[in-house]
Amino acid sequence: MTHAVVLTRATKRFGRKVAVDRLDLSVRCGTITGFLGPNGSGKTTTLRLITRLYEPEEGTVEVLGSVREKCASDRVGYLPEERGLYRSMKVLDLLCFFARLKGVRSPEASVRVWLERLDLADAAGLKVEALSKGMAQRVQFIGAVAHRPELVILDEPFSGLDPVHAAQISDAIRELKAGGSTIILSTHDMDVAERMCDSLVLIHQGRKVLDGTWAEVRSRHGRGTVRARLGDRPIDTSRLPGVERCADLGAETAMVMAPGGDSQELLRALQQQGPIARFDLGESSLREIFLEQVGATRMEDAAA
């Protein structure tokens, strides 16, 4: 099994609204995959399809090699976007309950290890209603991972956390990956996605807008900017490969790369024009790519 999750033309509708529209998607085993998309784009619905909370009206959803398995698998851990904890239960009892539901017979020891690790050992005997938002978030995280799942689905796991505890969760996620788990991480935080994810999926209006590793995404969708100057003459901008548009800045020329444009090819073309005095390549950030892709999809939809 190379892929932990494979969606093939998966479709989910709510009345007339198509929440997920013929989505093809695959998540490689042992990776951290970032799910990106604006609010209402269909991310949570996709995650719920993967966790079997919803069944697709069309297409298939294969999770850990199983397509037809109706029950939510004990091999999956799920941290929903909105926290779901019994307010009147004690933290330790609640986490043991969640772990037992996942088939762990004696979960207390493993739960205590996680509580210790996330600075919650003192909260084991507290009722959930007495916890701060950040503490409740960490408790919910433990609930999703204490049974050592093969697939961990985390919907906004850093929400409400201070930087110290966010770093703890980041480390824990990386450790889960190192232990062989596959992680799906849904987030609005582009820096987190860029920093932590091996591959990215951008969903918008129920459709996949882009996917791939960060390098592939940047390579395919990055719109880098090159600032260049020749030593003895102005740049001839009429014959430059991979450039979408140019701007004369006086001493220098700014060139916006076309999507998929190869900066090395541009460098070679400039060398043919003469000796290069300056060649600065600026990379697109994930945020810029996200905004550009979502904006482009919106414009396409408006034109259609």
């Binding site: 069944e55 109706k70 004990d74 929903p80 019994y86 307010r87 009147s88 309950f97 539901l101």
Partner: protein, 466 residues
């Protein structure tokens, strides 16, 4: 199965290990005790003021002699109780004459005058001068009166209920009128001018009729054959207890379902509001969650039942009434209690999962609550005639079966076994159907928020694939 048990244990612990459960466990018998003893206690708080009752006797001749007889009876009552004068703090039984005095009203000559006299007496009642007045019709002592209206004893009051006057005076007046009517037929009184009993005679007759040297009326089970084929007398029945058994059993069943199943509704709504449903559904199938909840609730309900049933049996033993209880009753009680919990619990959960808040739930709960409470309206007629057509038909309506069949089993010892068995099977089938419907609503409704679904949407939820 393991997940069902995990959820059931959590539900049971959440329901039982909290203050609300302990309070309801203690409060229910306390409330029953208070409500049953309230009227007795309230007798001690009666206004000690002596009240006047006017009695207008329009029978011809000497009349019924009601006022002197009632006064003699009051004196006798005070003498028997050892209390000469009733005062504040003295506990008087309903129907006591101790705080009443009687005023004879001269019989008017005609109907019109009688009406005017009644009007004036009514004015005195309205001002509080009189507590009430009675009118003994002119034909009250005739053996065969031509006009029943004229033979009536009529009670006039502005109060909804006044037990002392109604039971103490009204019932006694009827008895006195009946005695005087029989006196007119008594050949031994032929020599008397008016053929009437004197007040002293009526008190003596009433006294003799009220006392019994024997055991009085004894109720027994039907005589039966023993092991050797000999006819043996039926067991003596504590007549006061037997009617209480079906009522007690049915009320406990009703209350336990109410205490056990209602929190399920609230629990499911809270889980929806707190988004716990999403976490649970990520770990278990909707049916497993529903089954776990129902199992936990049933266990909770049974704990309640056992406590109350045990308490009831201990009380019966304490008052030497335990021998009157049949061995099969607790068995049937448990069967119908479990079925009622599962049936109504699944409906409560279905309503909870279809709603997003308690306000929505209250509206949707109405038909469930009605179907649950309605059988109680039939409790008395079913208890009085447990093998009649009404009882038989009503007790086979599955939503009413747990309460009414239990009532029939308790009220009719010779009820054929197939009837409660068939009733249990029908309820079981209905329960399976209800759990299926609840499961279908639950799996969609549990993740749905916003306004409550319409009936059309609910039916779509029930029959849709996903």
């Amino acid at each position: 199965m393991n997940k069902i048990l995990v959820i059931a244990v959590r539900e049971f612990r959440a329901a039982v290990m909290n203050k609300a459960f302990l309070i309801s466990l203690i409060m229910m018998p306390v409330m029953i005790l208070i409500s049953t003893s309230a009227s007795h206690v309230a007798q001690g708080w009666k206004n000690p003021k002596v009240r006047s009752i006017a009695i207008m006797d329009r029978t011809p001749g000497k009349g019924v002699d009601a006022v002197p007889t009632l006064e003699l009876l009051r004196e006798k009552e005070a003498g028997q109780a050892g209390v000469k004068e009733a005062g504040p703090g003295s506990v008087l039984m309903p129907g006591s004459l101790s705080l009443l005095k009687f005023e004879p009203v001269r019989p008017p000559t005609g109907e019109k005058e009688a009406l005017q006299a009644r009007y004036e007496l009514g004015r005195r009642v309205a001002t509080g001068e009189l507590a009430a007045f009675f009118d003994i019709g002119p034909a009250a002592v005739e053996a065969q009166p031509t006009d029943p209206e004229k033979a009536a004893v009529t009670y006039y009051t502005d109060r909804a209920l006044d037990k002392d006057v109604l039971l103490g005076v009204g019932v006694k007046l009827i008895t006195l009128v009946q005695l005087q009517r029989s006196a007119a037929q008594n050949p031994l009184l032929l020599m008397r001018k008016d053929r009437r009993y004197t007040p002293e005679e009526m008190v003596t007759l009433l006294d003799a009729a009220g006392k019994s040297t024997g055991k009085g009326l004894v109720q027994r089970d039907l005589p039966a054959l023993d092991e050797s084929g000999q006819v043996v007398e039926g067991r003596e029945v504590q007549s006061g207890l037997r009617p209480l058994v079906p009522i007690f059993a049915t009320i406990i069943l009703f209350m336990v379902v109410l205490i056990g199943a209602s929190p399920q509704l609230q629990g499911v709504i809270e889980e929806k509001m707190n988004r716990i449903g999403e976490v649970l559904l990520g770990s278990a199938q909707p049916f497993q969650i529903l089954a776990g909840k129902l199992l936990g609730m049933t266990a909770t309900g049974l704990v309640l039942s056992m406590v109350y049933l045990g308490g009831g049996l201990m009380a019966a033993r304490h008052w030497n009434l335990a021998g009157d209880l049949r061995w099969d009753l607790p068995l049937w009680f448990v069967v119908f209690q479990v079925l009622a919990l599962l049936l109504y619990g699944s409906l409560f959960v279905a309503v909870g999962s279809a709603c997003s808040d308690m306000k929505q739930a209250q509206t949707m709960l109405m038909p469930v609550s009605l179907s649950f409470s309605l059988p109680l309206m039939f409790l008395l007629p079913v208890m009085e005639d447990p093998t009649g057509t009404l009882a038989r038909v009503a007790s086979f309506v599955p939503l009413a079966t747990p309460t009414l069949m239990l009532c029939r089993v308790a009220a009719a010892p010779n009820l054929p076994l197939w009837e409660p068995l068939l009733g249990a099977v029908l309820v079981l089938l209905t329960t399976v159907a209800a759990i299926w419907v609840a499961g279908r609503i639950f799996r969609i409704g549990y993740l749905t928020t916003g306004k409550a679904p319409s009936l059309l949407e609910l039916s779509r939820w029930i029959f849709s694939r996903s």
